[in-house]
């Protein structure tokens, strides 16, 4: 009797240990999946086509292990909250997590996402910077499936050739003045978009904010100063309108569509809207896109986009891994690009004529994303972005000098990196 009890205890401990250790192996290795549907947690699918694409493809071929969407709110912060709460409760409700690129490090670092088998996602097929957003500590923790990058929207009816450098663009502001327009605007309100715009300027000038997964702070550099100075001077000298301090994506887009703005840093979504005839756009057919300018040539955009990770608490990691491999295949990426209008992650998709026909800006976007940089990586990303937003905003408003803002930011980022 006693012996069997001991044996049972040993077996039980063994089972528990095996269950725990599966978290450190890559997804898809180890034991069998639990039966049932793979739950795909994602932000609200505003296109309404995602589930249909999955139904027509994967679900028709894998009736025993279907993939079903769980739609979270449209607001990114609310999506992250839902996923964080589930992870902290070690809930197996979500199998696949649709992570914004900036959350990937946090989920990987906190062991909420399983590392993937890198052979299933050949690095050379993805655009380099996009693949990099899913790497943490040298390992792949998610599969990129939708990218995003900023481009320079310009009025081709007024500007003969798009500016390649900041100096050229500032020179072209004379055209804006002559036409009684504002010259350049991006997103400068104190929010995530400001982090994007600031890191774009800093990266374009050859600087960087964090290195080594957030452990090294490198923002207090002459290059970073040069980058931030470009934005600060914009407000001081007037090539960025004063009102732009309140701009997120939409007010800038409205101003551009109303014909009141000559140059705009914007995501691809504005392209289709600007070319939609109607009272909302006075610039149909009058604008084009180009890579963002930099100090001495094309600049570096900051990546947006989403990566798909497998929850560390999933009971169906094998099926989820198989789905990810299927989902990031060339054929599916093409559908994602055409039907959901997301920027592709695979290099080949950008050269597909059908994709270019659906979205004429795709060649420019490829050029932009090839030179793009990820936002600073850190497991404490919410703290990092807050520090960037606050200090950059103070510099744009002239409350801090560029030197002061960057040294304050560096100090704050050091503190954040030291957190346990």
């Amino acid at each position: 009797m006693r012996r069997t009890a001991w044996a049972a205890a040993v077996v039980a401990v063994g089972v528990i240990a095996a269950g725990c250790s599966s978290g450190t192996k890559t997804a898809g290795s180890g034991g069998k999946d639990a039966a049932g549907t793979i739950m795909f947690a994602t932000g609200k699918d505003t296109s309404g086509k995602l589930q249909k694409l999955i139904d027509a493809g994967w679900n028709s071929k894998h009736p025993s292990q279907k993939v079903k969407l769980i739609e979270l709110p449209e607001d990114a912060e609310a999506q992250r909250s839902a996923m964080v709460q589930n992870a902290q409760a070690k809930s197996d409700r979500y199998d696949l997590l649709n992570l914004d690129v900036i959350w990937t490090s946090e989920f990987a670092g906190k062991k909420w996402a399983l590392p993937l088998n890198e052979a299933d996602f050949p690095k050379d097929q993805f655009l380099g910077p996009v693949y990099d957003t899913a790497i943490y500590n040298g390992k792949l923790y998610a599969a990129p499936w939708a990218s995003d990058g900023g481009m320079l929207y310009y009025r081709k009816d007024l500007v003969p050739a798009p500016p390649k450098t900041w100096a050229e663009m500032i020179k072209d502001c004379a055209i804006a003045k002559k036409n009684n327009m504002d010259c350049y605007a991006g997103q400068f309100k104190q929010y995530e978009g400001l982090t994007v715009n600031a890191s774009e300027a800093i990266n374009s000038a050859g600087g960087d904010i964090l290195k080594n997964d957030g452990k090294d702070v490198v923002v207090n550099s002459p290059e970073a100063k040069k980058g931030l100075q470009f934005l600060v001077d914009g407000f001081k000298q007037g090539y960025i309108p004063k009102a732009a301090i309140t701009y997120d994506e939409e007010p800038g887009r409205r101003s551009f569509q109303a014909g009141k703005l000559l140059f705009m840093r914007q995501w691809p979504y504005a392209y289709g809207l600007g070319n939609t005839a109607g009272p909302d756009s006075k610039i149909v057919g009058k604008f084009a896109v180009a890579p963002l300018p930099g100090p001495d040539g094309p600049g570096a955009t900051t990546l947006g986009g989403h990566n798909l990770a497998i929850s560390a608490f999933s009971k169906r990691p094998k099926g989820a891994a198989a789905f990810l491999k299927y989902w990031t295949s060339a054929e599916n990426e093409k559908q994602v690009a055409i039907q959901l209008s997301f920027a592709p992650v695979l290099a080949a998709t950008y050269d597909d004529p059908a994709v270019i026909k659906a979205a004429p800006y795709i060649p420019v976007l490829k050029e932009a994303i090839t030179k793009a940089k990820a936002r600073p990586k850190s497991v404490f990303y919410p703290d990092v972005t807050k520090a960037i937003e606050e200090n950059v905003y103070a510099a744009l408003q002239g409350k801090k000098t560029v030197d002061q803002a960057l040294s304050d930011l560096a100090k704050k980022l050091e503190e954040i990196a030291k957190q346990k």
Binding site: E77, Y191, T246, P382, Q419
Partner: protein, 317 residues
């Protein structure tokens, strides 16, 4: 939590039966009252008491990379009040008080005017009463979006006033944007409470005053204000507590930029954004304590006064 309310609700039948037998003597009536209150008390304890105690408990632990850390005692409170967090805490504390002071003053003044107008008999009074209440009926998030649109640099507020103010782009305009939106939304609420107070003031008091030759201003300060004082105090108390924990309007209008980050926003930022449950709980406990102290002081100082000043007036009448 919910299961604990069940045994409390079922025994209510037996005291009721006892009451019928006893014919409602004082002692059994108070026992009945206890039984009747019990379910509510248990319910409140579970939905109000539990979170407060839980937050208090959480606030005693340090935050670690993936979850709760070691016990730190009052470390998180020290961090907020004097340590690393004080650079965020005190500005938030001050701005919360600024919002509270200014908007409650405006709301009271405007709400009072609305109530006085609504209290008069005139043609179309029902229409005025209904339309005054519209801002109060609009959800706060919608109010915020509405004002955000109107206060854009090329928005209607600048167009109508001929100004070029960038409302949400610098410090005082940002604060005013929030105060204006808050006042617009909640002045009707105060008006409603005051209107109820006004309607119980008997008309003959005014008539007597008029016969005695009191001017309109005298009638307002000598009759309306004193008799309305209880209603005013209740309205102001409600609003004080409300504005001290203001979150939605600044969150949507300015996202806390330009020195408009309130205490509640700081709590949400730490708990939801940074997932620092210990520190966030300490912040929310501090906010709770502060609001509690304000409410307590308000009731103690002014509430006691209400009873004292009203009694002699009844005699005079």
């Amino acid at each position: 939590m919910t299961s604990s309310t069940l045994p409390a609700t079922t025994p209510t039948r037996s005291p009721a039966r006892r009451l019928r037998r006893a014919g409602g003597s004082g002692r059994s009536e108070s026992r009945l009252a206890t039984w009747l209150i019990l379910p509510t008390a248990v319910f409140l304890l579970s939905v109000v008491g539990f979170p407060v105690v839980k937050a208090l408990y959480l606030s005693l632990f340090e935050d670690r990379f993936a979850g709760a850390g070691p016990f730190t005692g009052l470390g998180n409170y020290a961090k907020a009040l004097t340590g690393d967090g004080s650079a965020d805490f005190w500005p938030a504390f001050i701005v919360t008080n600024v919002f509270t002071g200014i908007s409650v003053t405006f709301e009271l003044a405007i709400g009072m005017m609305m109530a006085l107008i609504m209290n008069r008999a005139f043609k179309g009074r029902a229409l005025v009463r209904t339309s005054v209440l519209v801002p109060w009926a609009i959800p706060t998030a919608v109010t915020a979006k509405l004002w955000l649109w109107m206060m854009q640099p090329d928005g209607i507020v600048n167009a109508v006033t001929g100004q070029k103010i960038i409302w949400t782009g610098s410090e005082w305009p940002s604060k005013w944007a929030i105060i204006v939106a808050d006042t617009w939304k909640t002045a009707p609420f105060i008006a409603l409470l005051l209107l109820a107070g006004l309607q119980i003031i008997p008309g003959d008091v005014y008539e007597a005053a008029r016969v005695d030759g009191a001017t309109a201003w005298q009638r307002f300060t000598r009759i309306t204000l004193p008799l309305l004082k209880p209603a005013i105090l209740v309205a102001v108390l409600f609003r004080l507590l409300d504005v001290l924990r203001i979150y939605d309007l600044p969150a949507l209008l300015t996202r806390g930029s330009n020195d408009t980050k309130t205490l509640s926003m700081l709590v949400v930022e730490q708990v939801q954004g940074s997932t620092k449950y210990g520190y966030g709980s300490a912040l929310s406990t501090l906010t709770f304590l502060y609001i509690f102290v304000v409410a307590f002081a308000f009731v103690k100082l002014l509430g006691a006064n209400v009873v004292a000043t009203q009694a002699p007036k009844e005699v005079k009448k």
